[in-house]
Structures are given as structure tokens and as C-alpha cells.
Symmetry: C2
Subunit: 313 residues, 2 copies
């Protein structure tokens, strides 16, 4: 990762967004300095009708505060139309360069002959980030990622942030640079945990810290965390949460035939998993945990608007 | 349609497939001369998981004898994998150049910049055959149609025939010529009703009659035919059926959330319609009608194999 240094001279800009004067992010947003800010974020909108309807349910019952769309997926038009009709929703772009299921596949939205390095012999994205990272040409990845953002905007979505499916855009240093540059180009905050600063040389890390609103903590349920009731791992995550900017990623869907067929052969983040997550964020017990742990729920929109406040530039 | 004459000089070949000596198609297939041959055909495989599972159910309960795959659709890989594992199934390619639903869309499988005349501004196929017919460039349509067939074959499907989604390939004379040429190129029979011969000049019609296995009758339920019970229109169709080669097209799916979301706003050939068709072909009453009317069920495979019998060439 030391090669990253070569890519980031353009980032050596003396902006300071995450603290302005003595104010930290929480204060800039109008909360007490030691607030535990939390974005509860649904990934993978657009993947399936099952996912879309679960996310709409969770937005309606306040189980999530934000979500993001996989623009190349078959059901992206459905959720984009919904977001256009409900412009208050906090929805970003889930930048997608992988296609991980066995028999339900997608490629890019760019002409396939213009992004060949990103595609397998059937013109689908590769299933794994590792494979992508080895073969992706930066110029082709940037073309496709810009096309995804532009298409969402053209369909009426006003994205609040950028993040990334399976960490696609973190697959190699060149892709990371593109991801950071897209934040600049579209004036959108990106999901980027502070822990990743260790990838960079110290002066670069310091520059990035002043340039981006970094996540202090990212919580996502992983298979190894599961024991006992579904909520137990989330309870641990919430109890361990510290003041600063936190995000909790959930994967929502109804456990129905469509989602079962998509995720056949994959229990992790599969159909039953997503129903558990939907039940979790919809439950009074989860909401009580948020209260007990003095969590303040926010969305990416507040951060986007702060980032684009003239006095902070 | 008189312009068609210009396109078909290549078809003036003195093959005679639909009768060999004194034998007609039924006799060539080993049935009595005046047999009412019927292919019961499920369109739109690959459109949705709901469609795929309904078609698999209908193949299993002998409700259909044939079906065809829409290769550009999101669920084509699922049904292609099933057909590969069940090579005895009678499955062809549902050549697709239209995308008719509002929020569940697809384009071609060729690079979008190589088939621009077939695509709207979002790189989806146009929703109507009329629109397609006005703007499609033949060379681009042929490229895409060949890609669809080639992809199905590469995925392990051994197609038994070609037919066409919404009549895409009948949208203008140039497309019709391509469709007929694909039959030659891939040695596959095509759905082509005898009634369409009236589009051609008499000598051309005569040539086509001797070259292709034309359908003597094509029955597909249309909205105006519906009255009383779902089976009533089909009963009329079966009772009117004459000796020769007949096809009955059905549209199968389970009436579930996935299919309802796809067909939202479209009752005709929508979710409930498709469940009615599935219930119909699965019902003892429908099978009894086939018996009562002395219908002989066949598939396209028998015709494909006959077409490729050396002694008939």
C-alpha cells in the first residue's frame, strides 16, 4: 500500500472539514461534542424487488436512516423511481464492480467493449473483489463508476453519498484514488473508515483526515459474530460504540422465493440473513438499544450538506 | 410489405421440407396424415424467477411441451443452468429486441455502443415493436440476435427452435429476413405462421412454404377473447383446431410479489394472467380437452430433428 503515496499528491490540500475551529463534526451538526452519531445504512438497494420493498419498509418504520443503490442491478429502476418520488430519503450510490451470486448476474452499464478489464467472458462483473483488484484498469473503472452516478442522477435521484458494494472500489490503490476523486468531483461524502488511514504514509493520512469526514467506526455483522439471538451481536456493537461518526451496515430483504433463488448456495448475507436484519431494525428491542446507549441517528445528507457549506470551504 | 420481394431472392431454393414425396409433416413424424399436432409453448423463460419456476413446474406436470428463453433478461442464467442439467427439455431462444415493462428493464447483451439503433437513451430496448421497427438497423439487430443464440449455446443450452418476443423480429421486412436467415444459419426451425405468407408475393410465398415448417395455426389468448372462465377461450381454440401443425402460446408465472412488481400497471399478460395460464395447463380439465379433441402433443425438437435429417436435404 506504500504505492498509495504516489497517487495522492493531489490530495495535499489544507482543508479541514472534520473540525472547524474547535468544533468537531457533532458540534457542526448541532449536537453535543461527545455525541455518538450513527448512520444505520441499508446496502444493496436495487439488487432485487425483495430488497427494495424491505428497504422501503425500513425507511418507513425508521429502522434505517440511509441506504444506497446498486445502479447496474435489475431492480435499480424501481427503487430510483421511488426515491425520485420521495426526495427526502437519504439515498446514495453503492458503487458496484462485482457480481457475487451464481445465477443472477450483472455487468456494467457502460458499453461492455469499453470496460472489458472489469468483465468476465460473459460480460458480467467478477464475483470477488480480489479478482477485480488484479485485473481492473483504472480508466475503465472510473468510466463505469461515473456512469453509475450519472445514470442515478439522470433518473431523478439526488445522491447523498457514495459507498461501495463489497468494497469494490477499495480493491487496489488506483481504485481507491478514483473513489476519493469521485467524492471531489460530485461533492459527495464517501464511506471511508478512519482505520483505513493506516494504509497511507503519515503525512498523507493527516491530509486525508482533514479532507474527508472519516468514519470513526464501521459496524457490519459478520458470520463469525453470530451466536445466540440475532440481536446479540448488534447489542455488542451498540454498547461498544464511542462518540464520533459511526455507521452500521445492514442487509435487508424479505426471505421469499426471489431472494432465496438469488442467494441459493450462499448463507452469508443470504435470504434468511436479510430477513433477520429487517426484523432486527424493525424491532422495538433494537430501538430501545439505541436509546439506552444514547445513540443519535443521522443520515449522510447532513454530512453532504455540511461538506458543501460555503463557510467550510 | 411488397418490398419483401427484394430481400428474398436468396430464399428461392427448391427444398421441400413440409412434404416429402406424398408424406406431410404428421406422417414424416410418424403420425396419421390428418393429425392435429400441437406444441404447447411457454414464452418468456428467463424473464423472472417467478416465470422460471412456473415453467419448470409446467414441464414437470406435462402442461407444456416447449418453451423459449429471453437471453438478455435478468433470470436467463438460472433457466439456462436448469436446461443444461435437463437436456431433454424442449427449449429454444425467444429472440428479444423489446423491453415492455415500466421499471424492470433490459437492453441487449452486445456492447451497447454497437447496437445503438436498438436502444433508448438508457440503453434499454424500446418497449414496443412499432418503435423498434422504425429505428432498428438490420446489421445491429443481426449482431444482437446472433449474440443471444450464441450465448445460450455457450451456456449449455441446445436450442430446439427460434421464436420471438412480442414479434420483435417481425417488426419490419429487414428483420424478417434476418429471422429467416438465422433459421438457416443455426439449422433451427422458427415459429412462422402460414397466415404470414400473405405478406409475400405469390412465388416467394410458394418458396417459403417449401422451405420452412410453417405453423398452420397459432393460438394465443388475447384480452378480447376473455369471457367467463379462463379455460373457455382455450376450449374454443382447441375445438377449432384443424389437422396440421398448431402452436398454443401460454405465459406462465406464479402470481407473487416479484411478478406483480414487474407487471405493475399492466393487466394484460401480467402477474394474475400468468398464474391463470399456469393453473390452466396444470389442470385435469385442460388435459381432458386435449384428449377429447384428439390433439397430439409434440415439441419443436421433433421438427428440428426432421429438418436436419440428411434424407430430407
Amino acid at each position: 500500500m506504500k504505492k498509495l503515496l504516489l497517487f495522492f499528491t493531489s490530495l495535499l490540500i489544507t482543508l479541514s472539514l472534520s473540525s472547524q475551529g474547535n468544533k468537531n463534526l457533532a458540534e457542526l451538526l448541532g449536537y453535543p461534542r461527545d455525541s455518538k452519531l450513527l448512520i444505520i445504512h441499508a446496502d444493496d438497494m436495487g439488487l432485487a424487488h425483495s430488497v427494495n420493498s424491505a428497504c422501503i419498509k425500513a425507511f418507513n418504520n425508521k429502522g434505517i436512516t440511509s441506504g444506497s443503490i446498486m445502479v447496474p442491478c435489475p431492480w435499480a429502476s424501481e427503487i430510483a423511481a421511488y426515491v425520485k418520488e420521495n426526495p427526502g430519503l437519504d439515498v446514495g450510490i453503492h458503487l458496484t464492480l462485482t457480481s457475487e451470486w451464481d445465477l443472477y448476474k450483472w455487468g456494467g452499464i457502460s458499453p461492455s467493449d469499453k470496460i472489458q478489464s472489469l468483465l468476465d467472458k460473459n460480460n458480467y462483473f467478477y464475483p470477488s473483489v480480489e479478482e477485480l483488484g488484479k485485473v481492473a484498469k483504472g480508466v475503465e473503472a472510473e468510466k463505469e463508476l461515473r456512469a453509475q452516478i450519472d445514470k442515478a442522477i439522470a433518473s431523478g435521484v439526488q445522491p447523498t453519498h457514495l459507498d461501495t458494494h463489497m468494497g469494490s472500489v477499495l480493491a487496489n490503490p488506483e481504485l481507491i484514488k478514483i473513489y476519493l476523486n469521485l467524492s471531489d468531483a460530485y461533492h459527495l461524502p464517501i464511506l471511508f473508515p478512519r482505520a483505513y488511514l493506516s494504509w497511507f504514509q503519515p503525512d498523507m493520512a493527516k491530509s486525508m483526515e482533514s479532507k474527508f469526514f472519516l468514519l470513526d467506526n464501521l459496524f457490519m455483522l459478520e458470520p463469525k459474530m453470530i451466536s445466540g439471538r440475532w440481536i446479540d451481536a448488534y447489542k455488542k456493537g451498540l454498547e461498544a460504540m464511542k462518540p464520533g461518526l459511526n455507521e452500521m451496515i445492514v442487509h435487508l430483504a424479505f426471505d421469499n422465493e426471489e431472494m432465496q433463488a438469488i442467494s441459493k448456495g450462499h448463507d452469508d448475507y443470504g435470504s434468511a440473513w436479510r430477513q433477520h436484519d429487517l426484523d432486527l431494525v424493525s424491532s422495538p428491542e433494537f430501538k430501545e438499544l439505541l436509546n439506552t446507549n444514547h445513540i443519535i441517528l443521522i443520515g449522510w445528507r447532513q454530512i453532504r450538506d455540511l461538506m458543501n457549506t460555503p463557510s467550510l470551504k
